[in-house]
């Protein structure tokens, strides 16, 4: 059984989805359903946890989905910690996707503040899934700090550029002892499949679904791509050859000398 376990919890789908940027809560909910995802992120900035009628929350059945609130908009560790605490106090949910993005344009994560916030939140019993740049050393530092996953980006959020950080992602995946969720920048199902083939444990997608011509269909496509990529990884991909070469020009003499 190929099960993804995060913080002791089995997660059904290796595709996580975000809920921003959709044209309506109804389209968002339909896309989430079609994706097959179980882990669904919502921005605490956007939702009103005090309002049961909040359109985003009302569209998502908490029995079916693991709602992963994110701290997007936080510029410092202090802000991220504060909003995470408030969210937990209101919802009772201790899972948090930690995002500290002081730069409002590229939304790249601040490694220093992210680590600081992770240390505080882990100590307070949160299940912390930090959004980070594809920095292998930072990934190890966060793992040591006790985060439940690391979530390195494939390329800057919302850019649909795919795995521009591929080499570093490879290093992170090779050494991680917590699940690696590739987050941000995946613009096409093939990008998601590529991440899974590399051995990522899961991927998170939002913009590619929300701004597709047909978000529901795209969500389904991502679901298949993630499953296919995972199967490809598990079945042992053939090694990639640099040259098509049947003979052995450098070591062939070893066999010849035997003759």
């Amino acid at each position: 059984m190929d099960e993804l376990i995060i913080a002791g919890r089995a997660v059904k789908s290796r595709l996580f989805v975000g809920t921003g940027k959709f044209s309506s809560p109804a389209v968002m909910a339909a896309a989430v359903e079609a994706s097959g995802a179980e882990v669904v992120t919502v921005a605490l900035r956007r939702v009103d946890l005090k309002q049961p009628a909040d359109p985003t929350l009302a569209a998502l059945d908490p029995q079916r989905y693991l709602i992963l609130p994110n701290t997007s908009g936080a510029r410092t560790a202090e802000e991220a910690v504060r909003i995470a605490r408030l969210a937990r106090a209101l919802s009772g949910n201790a899972w948090v996707k930690l995002e500290v993005t002081p730069d409002p344009r590229n939304l790249l994560p601040d490694p220093v503040e992210t680590l600081k916030a992770a240390e505080i939140l882990v100590a307070e019993g949160f299940v912390v899934l930090p959004y980070i740049n594809a920095d292998p050393v930072l990934a190890k530092r966060l793992e040591e700090a006790g985060t439940a996953t690391v979530m390195p980006l494939g390329s800057p959020i919302g850019t649909n550029q795919g795995l521009r950080t591929k080499d570093s992602l490879g290093l992170i995946i090779a050494d991680a002892r917590v699940p690696v969720v590739v987050d941000a920048g995946l613009g096409a199902p093939s990008h998601a499949a590529e991440a899974m083939e590399m051995g990522a444990d899961a991927v998170l997608v939002n913009t590619a679904l929300a701004v597709a011509q047909d978000p529901v269909r795209m969500a389904e496509a991502f679901g298949w791509a993630v499953a296919a990529g995972r199967q490809g990884f598990l079945s042992g991909l053939g090694a990639v050859q640099g040259q098509a070469e049947a003979s052995s020009p450098l070591t062939g003499f070893l066999d010849q000398s035997k003759k």
């Binding site: 940027k21 959709f22 009103d48 504060r82 730069d103 344009r105």
Partner: protein, 395 residues
Amino acid sequence: MPAPYVKEADPMHPCFSPEQQPSPQTLAGQLAGLTAAEVERSLSKPRLEAEDLLALLSSAAEPFLETMARQAQALTRRRFGRVMKLYAPLYVSNECTNACVYCGFNRSHDIRRRTLSLGEVEAQAGFLADQGFQNLLLVSGESRKSVPVEYLRQCLLRLGPRFPELSLEVYPLEAEEYRSLAEAGLYGLALYQETYQPEVYAAVHPSGEKRDFRKRLLAPQLAAAAGLRQVSLGALLGLADFRLDAYYLGLHARSLQKQYWRTNVALSFPRLRPATGGYAPPQPVSDRQFVQLVAALRLFLPDAPFSLSTREPESLRDHLLGLGFTQMSAGSCTEPGGYPAISAGVGERPAAAQFTVEDRRSAADIAAGLERLGFEPVWKDWDAGFAAAATGAEA
């Protein structure tokens, strides 16, 4: 600790000034000399430089309007999604010491003047909250005497619990004043230069504090330095050659982005409409030109929030929305006390308006219209929980 290589920028030194740029005359010459080939080259670049912005603003770019609009829409959709953030202006005062020739609040106009009491501000805000707004822009004429900083601070403290996102559009303040308002929960500042051409600026601002071009130019960066999340810039379209003002506006935004990289730099596009006093804009901007300048600035600033004004009529707003805008005002009323009074004691009739609102639909109608156009109306995009001051929570 060793000294950093880049010293903290001096907030009193403007990070952008049109005087450091080619003069309006030089730019006008450059604009006239641009060719279709140069426009095409600019349109194919992944990241636009100042020269590209100029090319896209030129008349040589006019034949490429549809291409520009398509690119602008695609960029906006990718970056912001299919959502439109809604906010409401709340006019707290129309008292003003200035004599801006284009403005309904011009001090020489014989109109009813008033400044809302804090109780009235709360009542007006309550009306807006009941319509669903969580994002307010408090606006006033420029009168430090009638609308002192302490009054603004009190407004923020009183409204904070109901409105996570509060911004101000008032006279330019000092650095420490912005800091004190930031501590009171201020999210953003809107302050428009009106025109970046000092000669035109002097002509349309004949008297009052607003004559100080440089002070106005400096204020957004003081606000950014004080830690505000957003500063909104704009030029009042119709006062002067829009191509030049849009160019300077883009460069102003870009230099703020570089120096104050934690602050969102947003743009607004107020276009002159008839106001009390019947001011006829000397260089009116046509709809076609409006689309060109919005698209050019979107391509130059792919990540900046763009705000669409209720000065624009409904039919036009519906067409414009998808071209690069990310937020809009709704249910607007530009006279202090103009929203229906809902509490006892606010029986006075409203004072005079700053300009005529063209899109008079209610907030609910505008939201329904957005949904028909395929946008999710966003009422909440911030949470008071991020800031300790607004909630009283301790870290």
